[in-house]
Amino acid sequence: MDDQACPRCKTTKYRNPSLKLMVNVCGHALCESCVELLFLKGSGSCPDCNVPLRRSNFRVQLFEDSMVEKEIDIRKRILKDFNKKEEDFATLRDYNDYLEDIESIIFNLVNNIDIINTNKKIDQYKKDNKELIMKNKAKIGREELELEEILEIEKQMEDLRRTEVLRIDQEAKKQKIREKEALIDELMFADGDAKDILNTFSQSLANKQEEIVPVSVPKVTHFSSGVKFTRGSGQQPLPIIEEGPLYKYEPLAIPDRCGPDTPSIKEIISKGYLQHVRAENETEKAGGYKSTLPCLRALQDALAGLYHTS
């Protein structure tokens, strides 16, 4: 570890124990102070390979070999898009080939082999599998959420169990002390045989232990942050609104049509008016259109106003 040194200012871990090396996407390391100096404006180029970099992408180097860091970066980026699952393939062989492909792409990128063609390949893949990528991304998001929930439940269970055990322990301790005192009292004041007393006491102790009932654990429905689980545990009950008197429907008074009565919708259907109207097609039916309506309207318009007098 001691030979860790910033390639730019040559500071080593030995001379500056608080030295922190940072890496960016290109995989070349820089110490923290050099980063601050070079990327004052937020962006600049790597002093080693001249690749334009952004300051926000610098992070602490975790591995001694900065190439590993670079690979992690690239792998993260590639796996974001190459997110197919085994279920997406017909055979295991296909899936294995796919994994092999990913590895070779990553390898190429890390070692700067045939970058142009590899990038082309990635773009092509992205274009071809756009929908699947989106779907899997959403799925992963969902799965992560589920996992988080499970973890949270486990954590809370764990907490409960721990407090329960603690409580029982204390209870048992107290109980023991009490029993001991009772036993001593008994031995001190009773007239019977000390052996008999000891026997009866150990008997009742054994009985009591059987009596301890497991305490039921309340169900967990919240994250520790207080956020409710979104799935599973059902919907919130609707708030009950205080209601006034019930609405009573009163049919509208139909104004004088000033003409003969029009047939009702039932009559329109039964008396064969519809034979003379264009039937609705499937699309129109989906929109709620029925040929009875225009038929009724035409008849109403025809008959209304016939009695009109000037």
């Binding site: 049509r257 000033c258 035409a298 008849l299 109403q300 318009d301 008959l303 016939l306 009695y307």
Partner: protein, 325 residues
């Protein structure tokens, strides 16, 4: 529904005399307003008489029909009917000397397109007009609000077209008339002519539609009288039937009387109109242009005007107003 509509309440009149009364009143009003210093004879020579106005408007109704027929894209019949209604309604309460019919005609059609949901932009619309299109669109848009105001915002019009459909469905269902479709051409022809008469200001659209159907039937040597008496008016009673028969007879005779006015006569009237029309409403006149300019300047004038007023009347605004300090 027609029986509860504004069309029945405000725009359906009892007889032709009432219509003539309205028109004459506005003709006389215009003359007395604009011809104060002329004597009777001069007035007669200078202004249009009510009869001349009628003739001119009849001619323009023919123009309206032609314009709508040639309109591209072709417009539904309802638009034409509504435009005719608007045109007739407008000149019941306005003189053609005040507002030139050629301008109101285009505005009526434009408004009818909107109301009847026949979607054309103003650009598409004026493409159907010969001459200066920019000016035409200016005129139409300037007159649109005026027209709506004069129509008292009663924009819904009940046309006889849907009632005709209703009657045809009813006849096909309840009558044994052979091939009712052959009535269609006769009906269309009749309805086209109906709009050149005042029938739509006097009768219900269903009455006009029934007249059209009966007329077309008699042209085809068919008789639908029994349909009317035994089916439509079976429960109505003889008095109502008598009213309807009279209405149908009157509508048919009105349509029969339709004739296009003599061309020379109309040309003379148009010449007269060019001189006597209200120049304030003529977009080519100096007065009109000046008024538009004033209206445009008015925004600024009004602004300074009001601020001055508030300074005079209230001490509070005086303190608050920056110009006062």
């Amino acid at each position: 529904m027609f029986s509860t509509s504004s069309q029945r309440k405000f725009w359906t009149f009892s007889d032709e005399n009432e219509l003539a009364c309205h028109r004459e009143k506005h003709n006389l009003e215009f003359i007395s307003r604009h011809g104060q210093n002329l004597d009777e004879q001069q007035r007669y020579n200078y202004f249009l008489s009510p009869e001349e106005e009628r003739l001119l408007l009849k001619q323009y109704e023919l123009h309206l029909k032609e314009f709508c027929k040639r309109f591209q894209p072709p417009m539904p019949k309802g638009v034409i009917g509504t435009a005719f209604h608007y045109f007739k309604r407008f000149y019941l309460y306005n003189s053609s000397m005040d507002y030139h019919p050629k301008e109101i005609l285009a505005t009526c059609v434009y408004l009818a397109c909107k109301v009847e949901e026949f979607n054309v932009s103003i650009g598409q619309f004026v493409a159907n007009i010969k001459g200066d299109r920019e000016k035409a669109s200016d005129i139409i848009l300037n007159n649109e609000l005026l027209l709506m105001q004069q129509l008292n915002y009663h924009l819904t019009v009940h046309n006889p077209f849907r009632p005709v459909e209703g009657f045809l469905i009813d006849i096909k269902t309840r009558c044994s008339l052979a091939n009712p479709e052959r009535l269609c051409s006769g009906i269309d022809e009749f309805l086209e002519k109906v709009f050149l008469t005042d029938a739509c200001l006097l009768y219900a659209p269903s009455q006009i539609a029934l007249a059209a159907v009966l007329h077309a039937a008699s042209k085809e040597q068919e008789n639908l009288d029994s349909y009317v008496t035994d089916m439509l008016f079976r429960d109505a009673g003889p008095d109502k039937l008598a009213i309807l028969i009279e209405a149908v007879r009157k509508i048919r005779s009105m349509v029969k009387m339709v004739e296009s006015p003599a061309r020379e006569r109309v040309r003379a009237i148009e010449k007269k109109l060019d001189r006597c029309r209200n120049q304030e409403n003529n977009p080519d006149s100096e007065i009109y242009k000046q008024r538009i300019r004033e209206a445009l300047d008015e925004d600024d004038v009004q602004y300074t005007g009001t601020s001055r007023m508030s300074l005079d009347t209230s001490g509070v605004t005086q303190v608050l107003s920056p110009s006062a300090s």
